[in-house]
């Protein structure tokens, strides 16, 4: 048995399943585009009223930022906590726990399948936005290279944080509130409202200190080319530290949570 073989089999089964729900996947993808596009439109309107720029950001800069942010949000998206609550509440976790494969792997495959099946239409939509609003990239080759580890770390960080939140379902049957709290915090600190350069100093400091920006804003800044080489490396190091901490938190929460699991309904 190899993990590669297992992933291959799970991916084949997952693609077969996904093929039956193409419309749903496309709708989810469009849903994830709407918010950044609204922010882009809002900032473009503000910039237009202030002589074409806000805090040094032109409409082209905002377009670049939100196009990169949408792409990163898509690549790092994770929805395990929501699914996990359902699995615990309905006893669907039990069959997975009975098999010699950690339930986390099924979630990795689900995650990969959604991203792989929607990345092409998403890229086409984003290309349309780039051409319509006239994006302005300052990306250097080293940005593109460093973007790869940065976005992978961000996706892994988001994934593990989601699992930690999900494991709350072992203790409280409904943990959506915790998930909503996480989403709201992410909304404020991750760079969704505005690029980090435009937010007040105290918010900037908090964003750098908390993990949210490293899941979304950080790879976005690298991709759009706003960071120096050394700055990019520092960001990646911080991401690695947060990933390590989230992994430890997950291990701890999982072990403690399993002791609480009541296997209701199944």
């Amino acid at each position: 048995m190899t993990l590669l073989g297992i992933y291959q089999a799970l991916l084949v089964a997952g693609f077969q399943q996904a093929a039956q729900y193409r419309v749903q996947a496309l709708l989810w993808m469009l849903f994830s585009i709407i918010r950044p596009i609204i922010f882009l439109a809002a900032w473009a309107a503000v910039a237009a009223t202030q002589g074409g720029s806000v805090g040094g950001f032109t409409i082209g800069d905002f377009t670049t930022y939100y196009v990169c942010l949408t792409l990163v949000a898509h690549l790092t998206m994770s929805w395990n906590s929501h699914e996990f609550e359902f699995e615990v509440r309905m006893g669907r976790l039990s069959p997975k726990l009975l098999r010699p494969l950690h339930p986390l792997h099924y979630a990795v495959v689900d995650n990969l399948i959604f991203k792989l099946t929607t990345i092409v239409p998403l890229s086409l939509v984003l290309l349309g936005v780039v051409l319509t609003f006239g994006a302005r990239f300052e990306t250097q080759p080293y940005h593109l290279i460093l973007f790869v580890p940065s976005v992978i770390l961000a996706a892994a960080l988001m994934f593990y944080v989601n699992w930690v939140i999900g494991t709350l379902a072992f203790w409280v049957t409904r943990m959506r509130t915790a998930n909503t709290l996480f989403m709201r915090a992410s909304f404020v600190f991750a760079g969704q409202i505005a690029p980090i350069a435009l937010v007040p100093g105290w918010l900037q400091a908090m964003s750098y200190a908390l993990p949210f920006w490293y899941m979304l804003g950080a790879p976005t800044e690298i991709l759009r080319g706003s960071t120096t080489f050394e700055g990019s490396l520092l960001i990646i190091a911080a991401q690695a530290v947060w990933l390590g901490l989230s992994w430890v938190a997950f291990k701890f929460a999982w072990r403690a949570g399993l002791r609480q699991y009541a296997a209701v309904g199944a």
Binding site: M1, I6, A9, A13, P95, L97
Partner: protein, 344 residues
Amino acid sequence: MTAPVVSVHGLKKIYRVHERETGLGATFRSLVKRKYKDVPAVAGIDFGIDAGEVVGFLGPNGAGKTTTLKMLSGLLFPTGGEAQVLGHVPWRRDDRFLRRMTLLMGNRTQLVWDIPAADSFLVLKEIYGIADAGYKETLDELTELLELQPLLHKPVRQLSLGERMKVEFAAGLLHRPEIVFLDEPTLGLDISMQARIRTFIRELNRRSGATILLTSHYMDDIVALCRRVIVIHHGQILYDGGLADLAERMAPYKLVGATLRGAALGQDLSEYGQVVSDENGQVKLRVPRAQAAETTARLVRDLGDSLADLSLEDPPIEEVIDRVFSGEKLADHADPRELAGAAG
């Protein structure tokens, strides 16, 4: 002597349940201070199962059967006590343990709903690391035993409940587990499908030598499959021994059947025992076990030629179980702790 495949000592599971009182005031109070109650689902049980045994786990709803199976398969952590299954502590969920056992729950799906079972099987093949040759051999065998051929390539959601149960069985057995926990395997199935599943379980045990522990509400399942039963009630074991001895141990009475003719037709036999039924001269009497022989002798002596036929039998197993669970037997005769102690 080989070690038992399952050995359980003082196994206990207590659920902590939030006690909800009625009324608005109580609801507000519970927001600040909650009251909890400990509910013992399994109250310290001991038993062992040897390799190749088929054991029936009997008990009413909420007796602790399923909780025990979930602990033995590693899904639940116990509150106390010890258990070893195939030499492993189940709730540590070691991969080497998970590869050697299966828990099948009637009416619960573990297959991917939208794709054919054959594709889900391929995923399981990889997860359990089953070699190609072994996989083909097992799948062919299961296909033959469960008549799966027409079902394998249909999406699982298009299968009927009975068909789905069959593919669930196959999915749970592809890795040739050495111990099989079955929780209500025939739940909701029609009579013919129940019979097929029973035949399959018996054949599985015969061919693979797998140890089987099953719970069922259908006594037919237990009678057809298990020579040994463990009766559990309120989380405690009331009886552990042969199915054949269950009635003798647990039912304090026997049933005397008398077929009357001639002058005796319509005669009241209540002086010989409690009349259970009386139809067209077929009288069924419930008599204390200790007096059964004497009662039959009296009937022969008193009724003479008017007695066309006479039979003496144990009460049906369903009736025995029902009396035990409803507390009738306990009130009539013995303390359950005595019974548990006396039982094998």
